[in-house]
Symmetry: C2
Subunit: 543 residues, 2 copies
């Protein structure tokens, strides 16, 4: 080894040879080279990349004029549409952080997020006016509220100090936005579903957003000019970084307010869509659509799915209809998908059922995830690749979050030992593919949404007659999974399933309400812990 390293002499990082990695570069490039290409389609609206860039710059400028900048949070409650897309660029262009909030949350949960994230601005689509108003009504530092008036949507109510278009008009077209000085700067804030108490705010930085956008596009063999249908909410891990990937690949974003087969199939046909993402429930919906709707699909479409292990039968049904399914896996903490079930040629010759089974495994590291392993949660020793030994999935690398906002303890726990602890339990197959067997935190995934069993139990425990409660996932034709509650009543009290469900409806978002309530004694271990695996077996029989 050289005593003095000549390669470290006189070659520092400087303006000519070092720039922060940021997905904002993708937008500037798309707009400068392909200004006339269509970036966004929303109903009858069409918007080019040139226009999208100009409007994003105005948004950044308008925010800056209101004093918003480095370290500030701009929250958005909106469906996949033009404003939501532009916020993915305009907000970070002024140095701020975009916090896209799950529109299915109740006012209490949204209120918590706005408080914890210290949102200075809240952009709200008409459809979510009511919940937003309730969420902000008691806030000590109420954010500036900007109403989004989607001309394609006649319902709802426009609220806020001013409307989005008026706000854009406040901005300067020639605002000198800049790349972040440091690519480690935060670009987005995404709240987890809060499996253990309050949700945690996962922070993404520009470097990771840039890299995972490219990585997910590579997983999919994406080439220039994709036509992408937005069935996946952008509030889920920033749409798995696809708003940024679409800018990098100069694609067309086809927006969809409500994800229904009746809207998806016509959109596929009308816009020559070739890509979309969705939870297995979306695939299930399409696989079970009417023959009339299905007949609208005339060309191959690539589908990326994640959020729950997709049932082999659903994959099989989709592939038989000419959808090419790529199964990916990840968490909010890994910018969405960071693991991909890469296809092996030799699987082509297998029977459809076996092929679908291969495809339902979570897979291997995506192109730009650095490392992936299944290991003992305590020792971090990798488990044998025998397809049987259960361990926890660990990731590390540039597409793992910056950390949890204002929660160094949780960040330190999540990164203990130099790896991100996913909390998902899996086996490691001989070929290096990971397959999830269980969720260590008992997450229920319903319609693509993570539901914490603990959170529902918390509510049940607040019911005056309920002594004990345990919630597990139950199979649902419609949602993939739905919560199933097992409860023990207090002695001398009486209740009904209907009454318990009604209680839940008052205290949680609709999609979290248990589909079934069973009255029984809870099975317990010798140390008094509820044996959820026993309940899961019972739930299976009930489904």
């Amino acid at each position: 080894m050289n005593a003095i390293n000549p390669y470290e002499y006189g070659m520092p990082r400087e303006a000519a040879n070092f720039q922060a990695l940021s997905p904002l570069s993708f937008l500037e490039r798309a707009a400068s080279i392909y200004p006339q290409r269509v970036a966004l389609i929303n109903g009858r609206q069409r918007q080019t990349w040139g226009e999208t860039y100009a409007r994003s710059v105005r948004l950044a400028s308008a925010l800056a004029k209101r004093g918003i900048g480095l370290g500030d949070t701009v929250a958005v409650i909106a469906p996949n549409g033009i404003a939501m897309f532009e916020a993915h660029f305009g907000v970070p262009m002024c140095g701020a952080v975009i916090n896209a909030i799950n529109t299915r949350l109740d006012a209490e949960a949204i209120g918590f997020i706005l408080q914890h994230g210290e949102a200075k601005v809240l952009m709200v689509d008409k459809e979510f006016a009511e919940v937003a108003q309730r969420a902000t009504s008691h806030m000590p530092n109420r954010p500036l509220i900007i109403g989004i008036d989607d001309v394609e949507y006649d319902e709802g109510q426009l609220i806020g100090e001013l409307d989005y278009e008026a706000f854009l008009a406040e901005g300067d077209a020639d605002y000198a936005w800049q790349l972040p000085a440091d690519e480690w700067q935060a670009i987005a804030l995404n709240y987890t579903s809060g499996t253990t108490g309050n949700p945690k705010g996962v922070v993404y930085h520009h470097r990771g957003a840039h890299l995972n956008a490219l990585s997910n596009a590579m997983c999919w063999d994406m080439t220039r000019f994709p036509v992408y249908l937005w069935t996946l909410p952008m509030f889920h891990c920033n749409g798995w970084c696809f708003p940024w990937a679409l800018a990098a690949y100069v694609g067309t974003n086809v927006c969809l307010r409500h994800v229904r087969a009746e809207a998806i199939f016509p959109a596929l046909a009308e816009h020559a869509v070739d890509h979309f993402c969705g939870a297995p429930i979306v695939m299930n919906m399409l696989a079970n659509a009417s023959p009339e709707l299905k007949a609208l699909k005339t060309r191959p479409v690539k589908v990326m799915t994640a959020g729950a292990p997709p049932p082999a039968a659903v994959i099989e049904a989709m592939e038989s209809q000419g959808f090419q399914v790529t199964h990916v896996y990840g968490l909010t903490e890994t910018y969405g998908p960071s693991v991909v079930c890469e296809w092996q040629d030799e699987w082509d010759s297998e029977a459809p059922e076996q092929r679908a089974r291969y495809k339902s495994r979570q897979g291997v590291r995506a192109p730009l995830l650095d490392e992936l392993m299944v290991a003992d949660p305590q020792t971090l020793q990798p488990v044998p690749r025998d397809g049987e030994t259960i361990g926890e999935i660990f990731m590390r690398g540039n597409v793992v979050m910056k950390g949890y906002l204002k929660n160094p303890t949780a960040t330190a726990e999540a990164f203990a030992g130099g790896w991100f602890h996913s909390g998902d339990l899996a086996v490691w197959h001989a070929d290096g593919y990971v397959e999830i067997k269980d969720r260590s935190k008992d997450i229920i995934i319903s319609g693509g949404e993570n539901i914490s069993s603990i959170e529902i139990e918390d509510v049940l425990y607040r019911h005056p007659y309920i002594l004990e409660a345990a919630v597990v996932a139950m199979h649902s034709e419609r949602w993939g999974e739905t919560p199933c509650a097992f409860v023990t009543l207090k002695p001398g009290t009486e209740s009904t399933e209907e009454s318990v469900i009604k209680f839940c409806q008052h205290h949680m978002a609709r999609f979290k309400v248990p589909g079934k309530v069973v009255f029984c004694e809870l099975p317990k271990t010798s140390t008094g812990k509820v044996q959820k695996f026993v309940l899961r077996e019972q739930a299976k029989a009930l489904a």
Copy 2:
């Protein structure tokens, strides 16, 4: 703006969420997920990605055992083959820097490079034994010489302390190679052709190599499993970073020792090649191949070309034969190509000649180049986008070199004002596309008018009998300078100076018409570029 930025609190870079960007990750991934896929084809030899990874690890280990590590240079003089490919991974895996040397250089030039780069190890293919021996014979610190015995090549002479396979055998299969601690660490050293004095050593770092590998693949719409024919030498900007891109996309590298039409067409057919790179001279060679050879090409092939502005006529000829040409531009200092002539749909409807003219422009920034401009070399003020005003091309960003080895003065000059000075003169079109008019030193100034030698060459290439053409300045009593054309005729054709001049008079302004036409073989550099300084000397004698 927030007084205290909560997004900078308690979220440092650590092992779980930060890893150095490096193309070495691509190899590890290809080998772990697709160990059985063919990585390399060299004559009758086949080598998988699993084997290539294992051998690269052994190479790194063997080097480390000889004391080679951080900051050390390992030089290679070899054709595109297995050892050269493996060196692109094995050398940096032990922390060292690969210096792939142009095999067409003479002993003196190679000797200078080995001395300046302080090579500790020199890997030499049999074919280049003699020049390597002469180059090293007088070195005070002679490097360890390792002979490469390509079993597919019967000629030449094996030299060195030991042979490459024996050296690999010294390495451990389980050597714990590591990613660089800092992605700014050097990975490669490439010497410029040294048009003005001694060549300069351009240093690449892991970050830039990673990013330009992806950027060039994106330019080409590359998807997984490309079959790539090596017509471009790997000693040329590390094959434009394609050894690393091929690992990222798990492709097959088809090696070719000597670039001839007689070898290229059969290789396209035999291996179902779908991609290759080459200077315009390679395209010219294929465009002028025999009908029998051309008949071997039965499927579409993507061609990436750079190294000189491709004459429109050559592009047109290639495209008419089903080669899809992507024209890119760059310099050794920008990791090879970093500018791409992105195609616009509306050009499809133009006549073939106009299409080829569009395609012969250098274009716009490649996906991962940060900025590109044409500007005044002194003031760095961008020129108007009028397609007429000549300025210098400037780039900045992550795919600009780390700097020149042991030459901070040249580095500072190259980066003056925060931009990399390319030395190429160009105009900027209204659509943002850059078009090179000449190297600074290749411009001909006649009667006060700037004449682009490229423009004249473009016309000469359209002459039916002209195979190759090069134009330089010649002294003129009257005009100061006048163009002097050197041309090579196609086999079996004849022409006269008078007839060529008449052809020019029909196709260009009078003041641009060459004052002299010389019929000859064009002198070329090792990379196939015409040696204009030789022609200038000849033109001096003719004036």
